[in-house]
Amino acid sequence: MTADPTPDSPADQTALDGPLLSGRGLSRTFTLPRRSPFQPGAVRHALVEADLDVGRGESVALIGESGSGKSTLVRLLLALDRPTAGTVTFDGREVRPDRASRLRWFRRRTGVVLQDPYSSLDPRMRIGDVVAEPLRLLRVPGDHRRAVAEVLDRVGLDPRDVDLWPHELSGGQRQRVALARAVVHGPDLLVGDEPMSALDVTVRAQVLALLAELRDDLGLSLLIVSHDVGLVQHLADRVAVLKDGRVVEQGATSDVLGRPQHDYTRQLIASVPTID
């Protein structure tokens, strides 16, 4: 692999026409522990030749049951794991697990928010430090305190809350902090792994509205991993359905959820409780 002379300034390589994030032919196999010293361990195909694109400004949802390969695919797309086969490109540039310094440009352009606001925030760090940490780790230039105050205001928190500890906040406030941390460094892509499943319904409605607002105001692309069909219906332009490591269905949200083709998707839609 040739050395990139300017790993932190990829602007000259921006390919404006293609998708922002693209996974092509992604496979990942794991070798299970061997049961006998005389036989090799069994091979598990966690992901089989998956293709997934996230366009610029597009919101894409990845749905599928536990064990379907959702997390494996997201780890590959975020260069947290190396595919057995296939490639990931971001803005036309190949991305693969590497030293932090070589991936910094990619980390600066992506933000991640996880499921549980109770365990995703370090209880020993004040809110201001939690939110500022990506700026520090990614060596983002500029006034960090000001950036933190601005992003807290944007997610509906009081900028004076920087001195609070995570345990002093409600679940909804914590998820706002997690969102602030995910976008403080100005990413182009926000990845959410079940970002609302731990919240009360009124808080969910607020977080959903906030996600849509952040997306629109900051021009973010979204990749949401969820089995919450309601969230997907309200937020995603396009849906990919994973089953047993394969993308079995992919298309516009209204098509995939409105006229599901695959048995798994049909069963999922039929199971969702509704108040209609």
Binding site: E65, S66, G171, M196, D200, V201, T202, V203, R204, A205, L208, A209, H227, V229, G230, L231, Q233, H234, S254, L257, G258, Q267, L268, I269, A270, S271, V272, P273, T274, I275, D276
Partner: protein, 257 residues
């Protein structure tokens, strides 16, 4: 059996967490109790079971077929729990003892509430597991060998094995994925209807409530703010808290296209 809660107040460290709650669960009915975190719904459930922390102060009345439960000692309450009133809680991972096989756990209420031979306990456990759709082999399995849905079915089998007249379910499907949730909700409806038991179903999710309960009470800050048939609460909510719940549910949950 009927369960009547009248003007129930639970105070913990001087703070009322349940504040004058009244509920009527008719014989064979399915009543929902809905509210968000901290609304007092779980404390109400624990009060009915007599499982509140020792420092909780309880006033008001909880009557099971007319028999007053408030003020009963643990020794007086114990024969009712698991036999007359049974409960299913949210997380099937923590509800099961990791070092006891499923069959022995499912049979435990029988062994606690009467003399029963080991083979008879086993036979009844296998029958209870079959009723919730689990195979006989599950009786010999350890909790970690089961999926989340299978564990919750095992917990439900445990709750039902002694034939309770009143079943309390506190967020029993919150930790499950939607397809498993749909199966477990259907199981609750069927078991309650077939056995003629009464069900108090506690949830924060209106869409789940709509699948399982006929009537419901909306709880906020320890008080019942509105109650009535579920269809009416969803269709024409009156109290701002209920309206907020319905609006938030419409804004976030699946709507049939």
């Amino acid at each position: 059996m009927t369960l009547d809660v009248d003007d129930l107040t639970v105070t913990i460290d001087g703070r009322p967490v349940v504040d004058g709650v009244s509920l009527h669960l008719a014989d064979g009915a399915r009543l929902g109790l809905i509210g968000e975190s901290g609304s007092g719904k779980s404390m109400t459930t624990l009060a009915v079971l007599g499982l509140l922390p020792p420092r909780a102060v309880v006033t008001g009345s909880i009557r099971l077929d007319g028999r007053e439960l408030v003020g009963l000692s643990d020794r007086q309450m114990a024969p009712l729990r698991g036999a007359t009133i049974a409960a299913v809680f949210q997380d099937p991972r923590t509800a099961l003892d990791p070092v006891v096989t499923i069959g022995r756990q499912v049979a435990e209420p029988l062994r606690l509430h009467g003399r029963i031979s080991r083979s008879e306990a086993r036979r009844r456990a296998v029958a209870a597991l079959a009723e919730v759709g689990l195979d006989e082999q599950v009786a010999d399995a350890w909790p970690h060998q089961l999926s989340g849905g299978q564990r919750q079915r095992a917990v439900i089998a445990t709750a039902l094995i002694a034939g309770p007249a009143v079943l309390l379910a506190d967020e029993p499907t919150t930790a499950l994925d939607v397809t498993t949730q749909a199966e477990v909700l259907a199981l609750f409806r069927r078991l309650v209807d077939e056995r003629g038991a009464s069900l108090l179903f506690v949830t924060h999710d209106l869409a789940v409530l709509a699948q399982v309960a006929e009537e419901a009470a909306v709880l906020s800050r320890g008080r019942v703010v509105e109650s009535g048939p579920v269809a009416r609460l969803l269709g024409s909510p009156v109290h701002p808290v209920t309206r907020g719940l319905v609006e938030a549910t419409r804004a976030t949950t699946w709507r049939t296209p």
